[in-house]
Structure formats: structure tokens, C-alpha cells
């Protein structure tokens, strides 16, 4: 039986995690993400899970990686400054292929910025913030319902590809309250365990190795150093390093179309909005208010790896209009994949774009 509730986005995120089987949460309070932790603190112990408030975000990220190696589905939640602190250990999770979920309810930055106001300024940090080359998965919910659904999906993708997966919400989706349907059961894709005779860091199906869970007798050595397929440090071999890093990137990048998740509205339109997260709501309003279906909308639920083929769904597109709560982080990514005109519509300060603002961009492009 599906449960119908009226709930805050951050609570819905925590509920999604619990439904997905998350049993470990390590975190540190920061606005506007704290309600995720608070809800987990209430619920996890009752489900036999562990909630622990760590001493900072560096420790939080470390703790979920440790927990993940024991087989647990593990999550942390933070916002901008905490996200910055997590970066070194996010790279460690990438290098060691540790499934985990990092929720970033974005606020205005840089620095302490606007703790209670919305932003989308961490989209590039999430993709490139740690050192070295790598690739990750980032999901962007635009409603309370999606805070739930995409959190579930984040765990599934993390386990499937053995990467940290980011739920890149923003203060508006985190704090708004909406009707939500919570299903009894959610879909689960589990980690594939290491098969007998398989090496712990050798590419398996989809370039992803089997998972040698701690405590199961695999005797695996997990290191952030460049390692060979046995997991042994091998930091000075150019070929071992190149092969490893290229595989870590390729296992995500080659699955781009499989991971892609987006919504297409009015595919024949000449002017097309591309959104992720809260700005989608204003675009939905604009399209709802128009009589003709002459404005398209590509709403991305997955931003990384960037689903470039989604742009091709708009055969007649002349212009892509990209409202973002930053100065054009994803607009620039879109430019890389299209010959059409790309118009960034930046908005800083925390408020959503208004329908009138977006209309004026449509007028200008008529």
C-alpha cells in the first residue's frame, strides 16, 4: 500500500534512504541539510541501523566509507562548506570503488555564504572537486517526491557502479513541503559480490569489479594508492596507474546512456529550457501558462555523467535556455555538446527565477 504524506524534502530524502536499506549515517550538522540527519537520528536506531554524529565532515565521509566496506548501505548529508571538506575522502571513495551516497543540499556560496538560501553552485565541485581524474554520478531532484525517489536511485547506482553518488539538491527542494507518495517497496540493485577466484580490483562486467565485503574471508587490502588488480599498492608504474584511472572513469562514462534520466517536454520546440533541480519548477509554470506548445523543456534528473544525447531529442532546437542558481555551470557543459545557441540564465542570491524573467528570455529569442 502506497502511503500518502505531506512532507519536507529533506525528510523525504531520509525516508528514501531508509526505504533503500540505508543502515549507516555519519554526518555533521549544516544548514540547509540538517533535517536529513535529524530524521535519520530518529529512525535508524529503530531499524537496527547506526546514526553517528561525527566531529566534522571529513570524518563523516570517512565513516561512511568504512561502513560501506562492511557491506552496509551508507550515507552522509551536508551543504557547501561541508562538501568542500569531504573532497579528499570523496577521491578516496572513487579510487577504492566504495559505494556510498553523499547528499548536498546546496546553499549560496562561496564560503559560508547564504546558509538559509538556495544555490546550485556546487555542480562543478561535485564533478571535479577532488584531485586527479575521475567520474561520478550526480542526481538532481526537483520535487519532494524526487527527493525520495532519487535517493533510492542513488543507492542503487552507487552499488551498481561502485562509485560515490551525489544527490545534489538545493535549499528549495530540501525545505519545501509537498504531497508525496511513499511506496511499500522500492527497487534494489545490489552490489555484485566478488566471485571465487576473481581479483578484487579487476574489471568485471561493465568494468566494475566484484565487491569483497569485509568479514567474509576475502582478506582484501583496500588502499587509496594506485593499486594493481590484487589491490596491492603499485604507485610508480605508469601503465598500472593509467589503466586503473582510465577504467575508473570509463566505468561511469560508458554507462552514460544507461544512467541517464530526464524528462522531455515539447520535443518539437525551437526554444528549449534545460533545467535540473528547483529552476525546473519555474519552467513548468511558464509552459503551463502558455497556450501554444512552442517552448521545450529538458529536465535533467541525472546531471553527471552529462546525458548529452538528451539534447538531440529536440530536433528543431535553435536555442537552449539554461536557468541555474549559479553563474552558468551546466550551461557551459551544454555548450560542449551542441551547435545551437546556449543562453545561460544565472540567478544568485537564493530566490527562484520568476516566470516573467524567463518569459523575457523567450521574447528576446523569438
Amino acid at each position: 500500500m502506497t502511503r500518502i504524506e505531506f512532507m519536507q524534502g529533506n525528510t523525504a530524502c531520509a525516508e528514501g534512504a531508509l526505504a533503500a536499506g540505508c543502515r549507516f549515517f555519519g554526518g555533521y550538522p549544516i544548514t540547509p541539510s540538517t533535517e536529513v540527519a535529524e530524521h535519520m537520528a530518529i529512525k535508524l536506531p529503530k531499524l537496527g541501523g547506526v546514526f553517528i554524529q561525527m566531529e566534522d565532515e571529513i570524518a563523516s565521509m570517512a565513516s561512511i566509507i568504512g561502513a560501506s566496506w562492511t557491506g552496509a548501505r551508507a550515507m552522509t548529508a551536508t551543504s557547501g562548506p561541508g562538501f568542500s571538506l569531504m573532497m579528499e575522502n570523496i577521491g578516496f571513495a572513487v579510487m577504492t570503488e566504495t559505494p556510498c551516497v553523499v547528499v548536498n543540499i546546496q546553499r549560496g556560496g562561496p564560503s559560508t555564504g547564504q546558509p538559509t538560501m538556495s544555490g546550485q553552485g556546487d555542480m562543478m565541485q561535485c564533478r571535479f572537486g577532488s584531485h586527479g581524474d575521475y567520474s561520478v554520478i550526480a542526481l538532481c531532484p526537483a520535487s519532494v517526491q524526487e527527493m525520495f525517489e532519487l535517493t533510492v536511485k542513488a543507492f542503487n547506482l552507487a552499488d551498481r557502479y561502485r562509485v560515490p553518488v551525489f544527490l545534489m539538491g538545493d535549499e528549495i527542494v530540501g525545505h519545501m513541503r509537498e504531497r508525496i507518495e511513499i511506496p511499500d517497496q522500492v527497487e534494489r540493485w545490489e552490489r555484485r559480490p566478488l566471485a571465487p577466484g576473481e581479483l578484487p580490483f579487476k574489471a568485471g562486467p561493465g568494468l566494475v569489479p566484484g565487491f569483497p565485503q569485509f568479514g567474509k574471508g576475502f582478506g582484501v587490502h583496500v588502499t587509496g594508492l594506485t593499486h594493481d588488480e590484487r589491490g596491492y599498492p603499485c604507485a610508480t608504474s605508469p601503465s598500472v596507474h593509467e589503466e586503473l584511472v582510465m577504467r575508473l572513469v570509463a566505468k561511469v562514462e560508458t554507462a552514460r546512456d544507461e544512467i541517464a534520466d530526464y524528462e522531455v517536454v515539447n520535443p518539437d520546440a525551437g526554444q528549449v529550457f534545460v533545467t535540473y533541480g528547483s529552476p525546473a519548477r519555474t519552467v513548468q509554470q511558464v509552459i503551463h501558462d502558455r497556450k501554444e506548445s512552442d517552448v521545450g523543456h529538458l529536465r535533467l534528473k541525472v546531471v553527471w555523467p552529462f546525458p548529452e544525447s538528451a539534447l538531440k531529442k529536440f530536433r528543431n532546437a535553435r536555442r537552449f535556455l539554461v536557468p541555474e542558481q549559479n553563474m552558468g555551470q551546466i550551461a557551459r557543459e551544454i555548450e560542449r555538446h551542441t551547435d545551437c545557441e546556449v543562453v545561460p540564465i544565472p540567478k544568485l542570491g537564493g530566490a527562484l527565477h520568476t516566470p516573467e524573467e524567463l518569459e523575457s528570455y523567450l521574447e528576446a529569442g523569438r
Binding site: 555519519g26 570517512a62 565513516s63 566509507i65 575522502n89 574471508g217 582478506g219 587509496g224 596491492y232
Partner: protein
């Protein structure tokens, strides 16, 4: 079984310098783990970054070689998520007390059920001999070329004040005592902290008048004093020399602990 059954032999040769004290501490720790009867598949070694933190790579169990200073935060995740696993952390003085200082005091405060073995060579070994938070005043390092001017940390005092259930200090000379201390640490619920002073001929000894490996071991032997003896001297009003290395058990208590097996 013997401690040799825990060695990951196919990883030899190891990276440690000739005469390094870390090997002794690894042997003592594995002897203790072997004596307590833990199974390899139930035991996880965790470490940060540094020469000392390379130890888990030479052990046959599941092991997690993490980021600099963060071993205890990773270990907390392992321990809390699966209380059937035994968790031992190897760390260095820089790893534990500088970059990892905050994790150290909070792991002690939580008194989480982990055994921490710190190989204290009083220097940053892996990066080539810079000063660490335990470099003695006046000692030469590559970043204290005129002698360290900062007072060092007493790691055992720190662990005790922060709340650890078991705290003791020995040196790589005191093989039997060190093994017994690690064993006591493994047996004690809550956070056990065992500090092992070790010689680092390459980066500490060479710059600080210990030309031969055994010079530094001999120094540790002659300057070590049992805690009880030091207390006795103090009671009698006799001075304890300033360069004394206090060894022995600093704390064994039963404060509420986190992550203890049900």
C-alpha cells in the same frame, strides 16, 4: 597459529628502511592478535598515511589504508557498521596527533571499541623527516633545522584526558611488554591506545646523534622508566630526569564505551 600466519608474504619485500622500529611493533601487534585468538576473517586493520600506516598492507586480513590522519574516522565507520569485526588501527605520530588530532580526541571521547597502535618515531618519516607534534624540544628535523622550538604532545596524557579506556606506552626495545600491552588493549572494551616509541634511523636518528640503529634503541632502553618508579621517586621528593621516557600502563578503566559487541 603464530604471528607469521598473519603476514601477507607475497607483498615482500616491504618498504621499511633497514633498522626501522616499525617491524617490531607489527610483530608485537600480530603476536597479541594471535594470542587473543581472533580469526583473520573477523579482524580488520585500518591505517592513515605514513611509514607506520603501511603496516596493514603486509597483513592477510581485510585492511583499509585510508587518507592522512583519518584512520580513526574510517575505523569508526567499520566498527559501528559491523560489531562482529575486530578493528585495529595503525598510525604514526604525525598522522594521529597533527592532521588527525581532532579525530583522535573524539575517538577517545566516544571510547569506541578499537585498538589504536601508534608507532611514534617523533618525526614525519615518509615525507623525509619533518618535525611532528611529538618531536622533542631541541631535536633536529628538516623543518626544525635549528632545533624544534615547540613543546611536544604527550600522546598518552592526551588519550587519557580525552577518555580512552586503556592507555599504555612502551618502546620497540620492550618487545614482551609491548606485546602484553597490545593484548591488554585488545581485551579491553572501548578505545585502547598503545604508544610505541620506535627508532627511525633514516630520518630521526641520523639527524639527532644516533648514528647507529642500536644507539637509538639503547637510548630508549636507558631512558625508559616505569611509571610506578617515577611516582615513587616523586613521592620521595626525588627528581625524575627531564629526558625520561615514562613507560607502562597509564590507564585501564571501564568507562562507557561505544561500538562494543552486544
Amino acid at each position: 597459529m603464530s604471528y607469521e600466519d598473519w603476514f601477507r608474504e607475497d607483498r615482500l619485500p616491504h618498504i621499511y628502511c633497514v633498522g626501522c622500529g616499525n617491524g617490531t611493533v607489527i610483530n608485537c601487534t600480530l603476536s597479541a592478535v594471535d594470542q587473543i585468538g581472533w580469526k583473520r576473517e573477523d579482524t580488520v586493520f585500518v591505517s592513515g598515511i605514513g611509514c607506520s600506516s603501511r603496516a596493514p598492507g603486509y597483513i592477510l586480513t581485510d585492511s583499509l589504508h585510508t587518507t592522512h590522519g583519518r584512520a580513526l574516522a574510517f575505523a569508526t565507520g567499520v566498527r559501528m557498521a559491523n560489531k562482529d569485526l575486530h578493528v585495529v588501527v595503525f598510525t604514526g605520530d604525525g598522522d594521529l596527533a597533527a592532521i588527525g588530532g581532532n579525530h583522535f580526541i573524539h575517538a577517545c571521547r566516544r571510547n569506541i571499541d578499537i585498538t589504536v597502535v601508534c608507532m611514534n618515531n617523533q618525526i614525519y618519516g615518509m615525507t623525509g623527516g619533518q618535525g611532528s607534534p611529538t618531536t622533542p624540544s631541541g631535536a633536529i628535523s628538516t623543518t626544525t633545522p635549528y632545533g624544534s622550538s615547540e613543546p611536544p604532545f604527550d600522546l598518552c596524557e592526551l588519550a587519557m584526558a580525552a577518555g580512552a579506556n586503556y592507555v599504555s606506552r612502551w618502546t620497540s626495545y620492550h618487545v614482551k611488554e609491548l606485546t602484553r600491552a597490545v593484548l591488554a588493549g585488545l581485551e579491553t572494551p572501548g578505545l585502547s591506545f598503545i604508544e610505541a616509541l620506535v627508532q627511525c634511523p633514516t630520518n630521526y636518528g641520523r639527524r639527532n646523534k644516533f648514528r647507529q640503529v642500536m644507539d637509538q634503541v639503547e637510548y630508549m632502553r636507558t631512558h625508559a622508566m616505569l611509571l610506578q618508579k617515577a611516582h615513587r621517586l616523586e613521592e620521595q621528593g626525588e627528581p625524575v630526569p627531564a629526558d625520561t621516557i615514562l613507560v607502562g600502563e597509564f590507564a585501564r578503566r571501564n568507562r562507557p564505551a561505544l561500538g562494543v559487541r552486544p
